[in-house]
């Protein structure tokens, strides 16, 4: 990617200028379960790459337009899995009609984008039609990539194929797994093992593989988050400090601003401008305001730029542009409530504006005799907007399956991310595209996990997650709280961004970590209703369910979430010192509103023999009414490190309430 790594503090510009302790991920292998890879992309060049790690046992599987020579020291392995999806669609995939490759080759472009975001090599002068230009690179540019194609363009990713990808990735020896995919709500319980990502990732994590997954794009609605198993690192999406402002010059020579990715060669000057309602097939049809398919009159719309309003956050700008283009419109100005995520419209120029600008343009249309507008080309501007902001589309917590597990864990750049892509026209050319989604945020965190792993080789997936969560940032570029884009704008809370915005430099040296063993996860599963019989099949070691209370609250997560606090509850945690041997940490408490919080002990003194220390945190409610979640934090600090755990607590005074 360009810009996103500098934005989050990784400022290496070439392999010769190292400014990080992370070795740029050298020696680690990132597995990407996605739609495959376009191996000819310069992002997958193995220039400057070290030898293939000795623990690698994978292969470069042949297939259509893909052979073993497509792998190199960057792209060390590639496999494809299709049997599960073929049986779902009950037919073979027709490579001509379905525009697919029966091989690891990526038809969709999504897997190429995510893989290059995680570990792409340095590529000079990358851009999308001149936009977002710069040196493109992955977050761990010296890490190796193993590609597992289990997702098929237009068909999705089948459980059976995903599980086989997990099985092979575990065999092959990957260190990190990145999955930018998931299901929609209602979620299947990972407790009854009907969620194949939860099942596969459990076994991966129990073998020391860190699994990073996207949170989903069903935001900003609460409780929409996916991939919520506690052994997964779940990633929400944020904006970066880059925008593509586009001037719209109105016929009265007033200039208003939107954003666009349209860099068409022709700039055709002033053109007729109208509002969709004025060119509706049926003027009484309210849906014409929103440019729904078939609502525009081709005679009236022909040759004009059409202004459309969208009430929904789910309106697809590309589909709206199709409606306008089909009616003969030559440009689209779409007013939407949020600013995140710019699509590329192929047929006609598209500019996205907010409601304020949209209304301003509409007022001009209503007063002008012959409204005109000129759509100018966008520019790439960096550093002028407060950022990051949690993206509107990023799925929100709390988890609908296990509300005691805070999700997402962290947030990372996922809006208008430039990375390698399948070339348009499928020629073997270098191609880059700007995409938005939690899919784009996920490989950012997978890369940072690889950076951590390359330095701290013995750290468990839970320790790596802890480092990411406890060091994440709470502040934007203006020094104020990070905000979230949504139906309204408000300060982001842990259900929007977990621990906060990922901070790779601080995550490298977190000071303390909250570690979790496989046995701890199994005790957590006991608390969720697993039986001893099913528990015994999950590991080779014989483990029985403990009878202790609050097992789900006492899982040693780097966060504390209490969904149903009635009177008082005490949770326990243990921290492992991974910093200076003789360290003294003090507790800094920020209790949620209406909650009393007491941490014991207040001081943790580590030395050569005392590396792990437990503490208790007791929470009691002072609320007299039913309350929604309130947020706070607990930070352990030695003056150098700030190990911050987000806290979310909901007071429930009664089981239920009545009107009486």
């Amino acid at each position: 990617t360009t810009r996103s790594w500098e934005f989050i503090g990784l400022n290496f510009h070439s392999s010769g200028k190292l400014s990080t302790e992370s070795n740029m991920g050298e020696g680690t292998i990132i597995g990407v379960i996605d739609s495959g890879v376009w191996p000819e992309s310069e992002s997958f060049s193995d220039k400057g790459m070290g030898p293939i790690p000795s623990h690698w046992k994978g292969k470069c599987q042949k297939g259509q337009n893909f052979n073993s020579s497509n792998c190199n020291k960057k792209l060390i392995g590639a496999r494809w899995f299709i049997k599960g999806v073929m049986h779902m669609i009950n037919r073979s995939i027709d490579t001509t009609k379905d525009d697919e490759f029966l091989s690891p080759r990526d038809a969709a472009g999504h897997g190429t984008h995510t893989a290059s975001t995680a570990a792409g090599n340095f590529v000079d002068k990358a851009s999308y039609k001149g936009l977002a230009a710069g040196v493109a690179r992955g977050g761990a540019p010296l890490a190796h990539l193993a590609i597992y194609k289990a997702c098929w363009d237009g068909f999705g990713c089948a459980d059976a194929d995903i599980l086989k990808a997990f099985d092979k990735a575990i065999h092959d020896g990957v260190d990190i797994l990145s999955l930018s995919l998931g299901s929609n709500i209602p979620l299947f319980s990972y407790i009854d093992q009907r969620d194949s990502i939860a099942v596969g990732s459990f076994h991966a994590a129990s073998r020391g593989i860190t699994v990073v997954c996207s949170a989903g794009n069903d935001g900003p609605t609460s409780q929409t988050i996916a991939n919520t198993a506690p052994w997964i690192i779940t990633v929400g999406a944020t904006t970066i400090d880059r925008a593509f402002p586009t001037a719209i010059t109105l016929g009265n020579h007033q200039t208003v601003w939107g954003q666009s990715m349209d860099t068409g060669k022709e700039n055709w000057g002033f053109t007729g401008l109208t509002y969709s309602e004025r060119v509706a097939v049926d003027s009484k049809d309210d849906s014409s305001k929103y440019c729904n398919p078939g609502t525009l009159n081709a005679t009236l719309a022909s040759g004009k730029i059409i202004l459309c309003f969208s009430k929904s956050d789910k309106v697809d700008m590309v589909n709206t542009s199709l409606t306008v283009a089909e009616a003969g419109g030559v440009g689209l100005i779409l007013a939407q409530f949020h600013n995140d995520g710019l699509p590329s419209c192929d047929l006609i120029p598209c500019v996205k504006v907010d409601y304020e600008v949209g209304t301003e343009i509409l007022s001009y249309i209503r007063t002008a005799r012959s409204p005109l507008a000129k759509l100018n080309f966008p520019k790439t501007v960096i550093g002028k907007w407060v950022s990051p902001q949690v993206a509107s589309f990023s799925s929100r917590g709390p988890s609908s399956i296990s509300p005691a597990i805070l999700k997402p864990d962290v947030a990372a750049p996922g809006v208008d991310i430039l990375a390698a892509f399948t070339p348009f026209g499928r020629k073997h050319l270098n191609s880059y595209a700007l995409l938005s989604g939690t899919s784009m945020a996920c490989p950012h965190v997978a890369a940072i996990a690889a950076l951590i792993k390359s330095v701290h080789k013995d750290w468990s997936p839970a320790a790596i997650r802890s480092a990411l969560v406890t060091t994440a940032s709470q502040t934007g570029t203006d020094g104020m709280n990070i905000f979230e884009e949504g139906f309204t704008r408000k300060a982001a809370d842990p259900f929007d961004m977990g621990g906060g915005h990922v901070n790779p430099n601080r995550a490298m040296q977190p000071g303390l970590v909250y570690d979790i063993s496989t046995e701890d996860y199994i005790q957590f599963l006991c608390s969720m209703g697993h039986t001893n019989a099913s528990i015994s099949a999950l590991t080779k070691t014989k483990i029985s369910c403990s009878k202790s209370s609050h097992l789900e609250l006492n899982l040693n997560l780097p966060s504390i979430t209490i969904p149903n606090l009635r009177q008082s509850v005490t949770v326990t945690r243990k921290v492992t010192n991974v910093g200076h041997i003789n360290s003294v940490y003090r507790a800094v408490e920020e209790a949620p509103y209406g909650i009393k919080m007491r941490v014991e002990p207040q001081v943790l003194s580590f030395n050569m023999t005392r590396k792990v220390i437990s503490f208790k945190a007791t929470f009691s409610t002072t609320e007299k009414l039913l309350a929604d979640y309130r947020f706070g934090s607990l930070t352990w600090t030695d003056g150098e490190h700030f190990v911050r755990s987000p806290i979310a607590i909901r007071t429930v005074k009664h089981e239920w309430y009545s009107y009486e």
Binding site: F155, A158, L163, L181, G216, G437, S534
Partner: protein, 85 residues
């Protein structure tokens, strides 16, 4: 066959170290259900044998219910679809 769907027969952690032995155990289990080794070979899509134990196979709803009762079978999951984010 329209009457069959793909099911994932999940058996938890591998009991054996050797992948060949694990695959054989999957075939044996499926042969017992379907009545022959040939039927098992036709039915099986994948054998999961490295990270965990289990297999994906084409089964009728009744066969899926029956195999869920076999010793060592932890869960039978019907194949579903995930979407890219």
């Amino acid at each position: 066959d329209a009457s069959t769907n793909v099911y994932i027969v999940y058996m938890g952690e591998n009991k054996y170290e050797d992948p060949v032995t694990i695959t054989k155990s999957h075939h044996k289990l499926l042969s017992t259900l379907l009545g022959s080794k040939e039927a098992a070979m036709r039915s099986i899509l994948y054998s999961y044998k490295h990270g965990f134990s289990g297999f994906a196979a084409r089964l009728t709803e009744t066969e899926a219910k029956n195999i869920a009762e076999f010793p060592g079978v932890l869960q039978v999951i019907q194949n579903g679809i995930f979407k890219l984010h």
